[in-house]
């Protein structure tokens, strides 16, 4: 075994490889094991060997036919986005030029100050297809978030967001006239800070979609200031 890297358990570091490729380590354990892999050739070899089997496991599931309605929904979204991109003027900057700061009073109590804040409806699908893309306010100037509204569904696409510290996740909230209501959407971001999450439920009466950092398992009330705020109205 490796001389470097943390010893993860008394059975030896190699004992975690199978659980790792099966996704059976906790987030903290996975993170520690990934760090360990950087310095342990034995474990890297073990993971590579077992990963081949784990990658084949989907075929062990009963093979079904995907519903045709699912394809219709997916391809409708793809065509809409492709059309929007192709319709974008070539002079459009790769990095959107944010409009002037426009901090709402409702945000005054939040710790969103001193960051680049932008709110803009940046696209309306041609032909009145009802697709709306809203650029959300983000806490970090290095991150951005878009809320896509289409056919009663909403999806939040995030880039550049800081990874959650160990033991914490991001949680999505819906805010109407009262206090924010929790959703069951808890997520983490990729190493690049990216995530795409569906916003569940109806957005009727919802004025803001929020994201906060919460303890793993989520919370029933926000315990931190939002890191993302998307204004629907």
């Amino acid at each position: 075994m490796s001389a470097g890297g943390p010893h993860l358990d008394p059975e030896g570091c190699g004992s975690n490889a199978a659980a790792y490729v099966l996704g059976a380590l906790s987030d903290d354990e996975s993170s520690a094991f990934r760090s360990h892999l950087e310095s342990c050739a034995v474990c890297r070899e073990e993971v590579a060997a077992l990963n081949v089997v784990a990658a084949a496991l989907p075929a062990a599931a009963p093979q079904l036919t995907a519903p045709s309605e699912l394809k219709r929904r997916v391809m409708a979204a793809v065509h809409e986005e492709a059309a929007r991109v192709s319709a974008r003027p070539s002079r459009a900057p790769t990095r959107p030029a944010f409009p002037a700061l426009r901090l709402r009073p409702a945000l005054a109590g939040l710790t969103l100050a001193a960051v680049v804040v932008a709110l803009a409806v940046i696209a309306l699908a041609p032909g009145g297809s009802g697709v709306r893309v809203i650029r959300a306010d983000v806490l970090s100037s290095r991150a951005s978030a878009l809320l896509r509204l289409s056919g009663g569904h909403a999806e939040l696409s995030i880039t550049g967001l800081a990874q959650s510290p160990p033991g914490r996740v991001y949680e999505v909230w819906l805010k109407g006239s009262g206090r924010p209501q929790p959703t069951d959407v808890l997520f983490t971001v990729t190493s690049a800070g990216d995530a795409t999450v569906g916003v569940p439920g109806s957005l009727s009466g919802v004025s803001e979609v929020l994201v906060t950092s919460e303890r793993r398992g989520g919370s029933r009330v926000p315990t931190r200031a939002p890191v993302i705020v998307a204004h629907l109205s």
Partner: protein
């Protein structure tokens, strides 16, 4: 995939047609609910569409990449539901979900390759195939499985390792078999 990276919708449709059944089958196996499985596949496919530029051919096929996204999102959805419902469902509940998801879809004939994978899993001693299924399709951590089966954590991890190693020997090169 090059065309998909450039935002070519027809090229993406070809990819979708090629892999959607496998993606839906995996999501359905994990989630056990048609609507949830559809949401998972939709999110995964759109993620692939939007982030195709990050695909690295050296790290596996597009199919492997997509199914990896589906697996992660399905497990996330499963765990969110578990949290929302106040904790993990019972052993019996998971066993029932793994054994008999909703019968709302017509199961199509499995390919020879898929059957080989299935048989390799079924040929394992029950204690090994069970921990692999609970982890991969059930979304449970090794600690949760150990608690559920009242078995030491080290034993659970040992069974996972032995089971996967035996499957690899049985299948030879699973990458060629399944993908």
């Amino acid at each position: 995939m090059q065309l998909v990276r450039r935002g070519n919708a027809p090229a993406f449709e070809v990819l979708y047609d090629r892999h959607a059944d496998a993606a839906f089958s995996l999501a359905y196996r994990i989630c056990g609910q048609r609507a949830l499985a559809e949401d998972v596949v939709q999110e995964a496919c759109l993620s692939l569409w939007r982030s195709g530029a990050r695909y690295d051919r050296d790290r596996g096929s597009v199919r492997t990449w997509l199914l990896g996204i589906v697996h992660n999102r399905a497990i996330d959805a499963l765990r969110r539901r578990s949290v929302r419902d106040g904790g993990l469902v019972s052993d019996e509940g998971i066993a029932e979900r793994l054994a008999s998801p909703e019968r709302t879809d017509v199961e199509v004939a499995r390919s020879d390759e898929a059957r080989e994978i299935r048989e390799a899993l079924e040929q394992l001693p029950g204690e090994q195939s069970r921990v692999i299924e609970l982890a991969y399709f059930g979304g449970l951590t090794h600690v949760q499985i150990a608690s559920m089966l009242d078995t030491p954590v080290g034993t659970v991890k040992g069974r996972m390792r032995l089971g996967l190693a035996k499957m690899r020997m049985t299948l030879g090169d699973p990458a060629k078999v399944a993908l």
